[in-house]
């Protein structure tokens, strides 16, 4: 209990209702954004706002900012691994050909085209 009380003191007072209202406002924007029908606006309102909402939840509800620094490093490390995974596999998934390789379905499609 003593540790718990000490941990409680480390938290700056946060108005959770205010944070919740901000999250709901952002949710409304992310829903209304696509109605405009402009792709870039949809991307910004949907994914940009998702990042902001995740930040608000992590900071204010999970209290990541008052955890020991190594917790932040731990989370950042796994996020870097995610980026490495994406960067390492995206060329194979998203490209149809590269140095000395072509996807079988591309070869098949081109042979059908030549016939």
């Amino acid at each position: 209990m003593a540790e718990h009380a000490a941990h409680a003191q480390a938290h700056a007072p946060i108005n959770y209702i205010r944070v919740y209202q901000m999250l709901l406002a952002l949710l409304m924007v992310s829903v209304l954004g696509p109605l405009i029908g402009i792709k870039i606006v949809t991307l910004i309102t949907a994914f940009g706002i998702a990042v902001v909402k995740a930040y608000l939840v992590a900071k204010n509800f999970m209290h990541v900012n008052v955890q020991p620094r190594f917790v932040v490093y731990l989370l950042c490390t796994v996020l870097v691994f995610m980026v490495l995974f994406f960067a390492g596999t995206a060329p194979d998934v998203m490209e149809h050909h590269g140095d000395n390789w072509v996807k079988p379905e591309v070869v098949q499609a081109s042979s059908v085209h030549h016939e």
Binding site: H4, A8, L27, V31, T42, A46, F61, L75, F85, F86
Partner: protein, 189 residues
Amino acid sequence: MRPIATTRSAAGLPTGTLAVWWVLASEIVIFGGLLGSYIMYRLNHDAWSAQAANTSLPIGAFNTFVLLTSSLTAVLGHQAAERGDGKRAAKLLRYTCVGAATFITVKAFEWTHEIREGLTITSNTFWSFYYTAAGLHALHVIAGAILMLFVAADAAKNRELHRVELIGIYWHFVDIVWIFLFPLLYIAK
């Protein structure tokens, strides 16, 4: 006397909290890999837009609202536990469980409708991702709600109040995963 493992603080934070952060770090890799793969395929297959058009934005938005609200009750429960008010913490955790039950019920109706429309996990790669990602997330919601009921039962007796924070951290993570699933599966069409 309490077991040493629950009170030592060699890492600068209680062992239970450390364990939850380790779990979440592994969860980030699991969901990150899944969502990263989805994004790769999504960017490469414009035809997926037509499939994504079958998902219901209002239902997705409602479930986002439900999870955000349940996160609020979870953090208010944590606040009550910090003040030593176990009864209020338990009450708020049970409200969070109601949110979880609402989320799962809505998802069940949504999936029933989609499956009746012939959109199953084997329909194509989009729906495979859709059911895998949303299903894995739903399993986390169910697991979290069950654990929360146990924590709430103890908290109501003013026991193990530190666990209210631990289950809260997990719950907020589940909320964050949905925050990213929502635009990927329901908005990007």
